[in-house]
């Protein structure tokens, strides 16, 4: 046991004496949390639009005021022709144009029917749809207000409730994703590279001829990364609670237990990669291509899995981080207990056993 700790201590020395690696380890989670927490959002805000009001009457002025009051838009008023609007689209100056034709109020009052033209730059389809919808609902509200004087008959009033995330924060979705990404990075890539480095330097041979069980050598290499991952996990959780105001609704103990399970799975994958490669470069490439890319693609926090064609959806079932992501969302955000996530836990556990088994086996083959 004493020998074992000697080895573990040596591994910690390696890790802590390499500032560039440490920067990677702690820089990436912090940067990602900050970016995802504050900078990156799918919400649409401050979109530049132009309003061309050819009517210049009460009705159009009132609607424009309502549009101005919304945080979605950054309004510029200008009597633009279609050509000018097109030019502004092409220069990327505006995303949408609202055109009130002349006699707008007149039509509304006397003909009971008036038109507003909405032109959207649909090269970005989501923004175009959302902006058009916002404008429609503002106009609708105005219409409702118009009718307030008269009792509107047969009204359906929908009541919306946003579950788990009433403020619609992007972070709620991203933080669990960042957690799985970082664990993957630390455990898979770092473990694989650090073991392969010993192979490359030839020190692995020295360790293997020492009176120490080979498998313990490997375990002692994994321990520091297990520890670092848990530190990283704690960092992420602290940042998201205190910086992003994200709640931890479920049991913290369960969260750490499930995370440990995921970390073990990742360590096993890292070990497997290290037995299959002989150079740091190859180990790095394999971790990036083999694990990072699938993690980014198929976890579900960056790219919506439900929109993918079925072969990709099928592949996503084999990516461990997908299950971990579901677990974290359930425990941390939804506050569910083990009874609701036992299935995902079991799948993850199975994956862990599989990777551990295969990697130990190929490690032994390499020794033989």
């Amino acid at each position: 046991m004493k020998q074992f700790f000697t080895f573990v201590r040596k591994e910690f020395y390696h890790v802590f004496r390499d500032p560039k690696t440490l920067l990677m380890l702690f820089g990436i989670p912090v940067v990602q949390i900050v970016l995802f927490g504050f900078a990156l959002t799918n919400e649409i805000k401050n979109s530049k639009i132009v309003v061309a009001d050819y009517a210049h009457d009460n009705a159009s002025a009132e609607i424009i005021n309502k549009i101005k009051a919304s945080a979605y838009f950054d309004i510029q008023e200008s009597l633009m022709s279609h050509e000018q609007i097109e030019e502004a689209f092409r220069s990327g100056k505006i995303k949408l144009a609202v055109v009130f034709p002349a006699n707008f109020n007149n039509d509304l009052v006397h003909l009971n029917h008036a038109q507003i033209q909405v032109l959207a730059d649909a090269s970005d389809p989501n923004t175009a749809t959302a902006l058009t919808n916002y404008i429609s609902s503002i106009v609708n509200d105005y219409q409702m207000a118009l009718l307030k004087t008269q009792q509107i008959p047969y009204r359906i009033v929908p009541e919306f409730r946003m579950l788990y995330n009433p403020q619609l924060k992007g972070a709620t979705n991203f933080v669990p994703g960042v957690m799985s990404l970082v664990m993957m990075l630390v455990c898979v890539m770092m473990t694989a590279v650090s073991i392969v480095r010993e192979k490359e330097l030839g020190t692995m041979e020295i360790l293997l001829v020492s009176p120490f069980k080979p498998i313990l050598v490997v375990i002692s290499k994994a321990v520091p990364y297990l520890f670092l991952s848990l530190v990283n996990l704690t960092t992420i959780l602290l940042l998201s609670v205190f910086l992003l105001d994200l709640p931890i609704n479920g049991s913290i103990l369960l969260l750490y237990a499930e995370s440990s399970l995921f970390i073990l799975t990742c360590l096993a994958v890292g070990l497997l990669i290290s037995t299959k490669t002989d150079s740091q470069q190859a180990a790095m490439m394999m971790s990036l291509m083999g694990m990072m890319l699938p993690t980014l693609l198929f976890t579900g926090f960056l790219f919506p899995i439900e929109n993918m064609p079925w072969p990709l959806q099928a592949i996503s079932h084999f990516v461990p981080s997908r299950w971990y992501y579901i677990i974290v969302k359930s425990v941390m955000i939804k506050g569910l207990g083990i009874s609701q996530i036992w299935k995902e836990t079991l799948i993850l556990f199975g994956m862990m056993l599989f990777f551990l088994g295969v990697s130990i086996k190929s490690f032994k083959i390499r020794l033989a």
């Binding site: 560039k20 940067v31 995802f36 990156l40 401050n46 058009t132 409730r161 946003m162 470069q281």
Partner: protein, 373 residues
């Protein structure tokens, strides 16, 4: 000039002799362009909806069928209680719950007002929000249909209506691929150019041939040009392959001038290669170069406006994105390819990228010290 000729000949020989390069140039772009747009489909569709219908009336039936036929929603289940519907949400099987209270039809007619309950799983805020917006507009339509049924429309109808005619320019079918593919192509060119240039120079450091080069009369800028030009050419090749793929697979043909597109690409590649060069001057080993490049390319990708709109970012983040070359090319690609923008539309983008390229390259050249102090 003669020196440069020999440097270039050497670089091209080495690059094309490397067996992994050609697949990188042709296969990786094709694969990425085939898979990424499929994955990066942020169009909000297939929102799964659980319905709790306590009313079971013709109206509630009609409302439900109107929702399912809209194309946005997918009915995952009829539940008898809110609680069972909630279970579906917890298992991620439903995004939205629509609860129709008992007496919905009767009250609507009799009381002239009736409530409906909608609950959305808002962990993914955008999805929940847009789902709510879509559902809201369907409800409004349904509402006015009901109204029409009970109030005969006359010319003198007291209900004034404002009709909104909306038209979606450049992409009338709201095809999400049109939006993503040009952007992904930018990322591709960036990664190829940046990584490969950085790794190539560091490799000469690692194997020691750079020492040999340093004692020859090769000028600093010759050596750097000799490294940049090949990757500049490769960048353009990757881009061309990518454009062909997006034409063949996605039917995307640039609306604007192809010459303008390549002109901008030329300027853009200067900045990307400058970045690669800079990374290489700060790294001793290929592994370091890779980690550093990975770290920055990750930030570049996320903040470039490819996935999330830049104008929604807070001021500090928007500032940062102005210093990221990717930002400009993503925008320019979308402008020229989708909207047919012309030279005068992209002048500011061009000036910006040239400035960035200048800064990165000068910084890198100053930092690449052939003679130590």
């Amino acid at each position: 000039m003669r020196t440069l000729k020999f440097l270039l000949r050497k670089e091209f020989r080495q690059i094309f002799r490397n067996k992994s390069i050609l697949p990188m140039i042709f296969v990786v772009p094709i694969l990425q362009l085939l898979i990424l747009p499929l994955a990066a489909d942020y169009a909000i569709k297939n929102i799964s909806l659980a319905v709790v219908d306590h009313d079971h009336s013709p109206y509630s039936q009609k409302l439900i069928s109107k929702i399912t036929s809209s194309g946005y929603f997918q009915l995952t289940g009829f539940c008898d209680s809110y609680k069972t519907a909630m279970n579906l949400v917890e298992k991620d099987e439903a995004d939205l719950i629509l609860e129709i209270p008992e007496g919905f039809e009767k009250n609507l007619i009799r009381e002239s007002e009736q409530k409906l309950f909608v609950a959305a799983n808002a962990i993914n805020g955008t999805r929940a929000n847009l789902g709510g917006v879509y559902l809201g507009s369907i409800l409004r339509n349904f509402n006015s249909e009901v109204r029409m049924e009970w109030i005969p429309v006359t010319r003198f109808s007291p209900l004034a209506t404002i009709e909104i005619t909306s038209s979606n320019w450049y992409n009338p079918h709201l095809n999400y691929n049109y939006f993503m593919v040009p952007g992904i192509l930018v990322i591709l060119v960036t990664m190829m150019g940046g990584y490969m240039a950085a790794l190539n120079i560091v490799k000469e450091k690692e194997i020691g041939t750079i020492e040999q080069i340093n004692v020859t009369p090769i000028k600093k800028y010759h050596f750097i040009l000799g490294k940049l030009i090949p990757f500049w050419v490769i960048g353009a090749m990757v881009f061309t392959v990518g454009m062909l793929v997006s034409w063949l697979v996605y039917g995307i043909v640039p609306l604007g001038s192809i010459a303008l597109l390549y002109g901008y690409l030329a300027a853009y590649l200067l900045s990307v290669l400058g970045f690669g060069l800079l990374v290489s001057t700060y790294s001793e080993t290929q592994q370091q170069a890779m980690s550093v490049a990975f770290f920055f390319v990750m930030i570049f990708n996320l903040m470039s406006g490819l996935y999330t709109p830049i104008e929604s970012m807070p001021d500090w983040a928007r500032m940062i994105s102005h210093f990221i070359p990717v930002t400009y090319f993503v925008e320019v690609m979308r402008m020229i390819v989708l909207k047919g923008s012309e030279f005068h539309n992209i002048i500011t983008h061009l000036v910006a990228i040239l400035l960035i390229a200048l800064v990165l390259n000068v910084w890198a050249i100053l930092n690449y010290r052939k003679t130590s102090s």
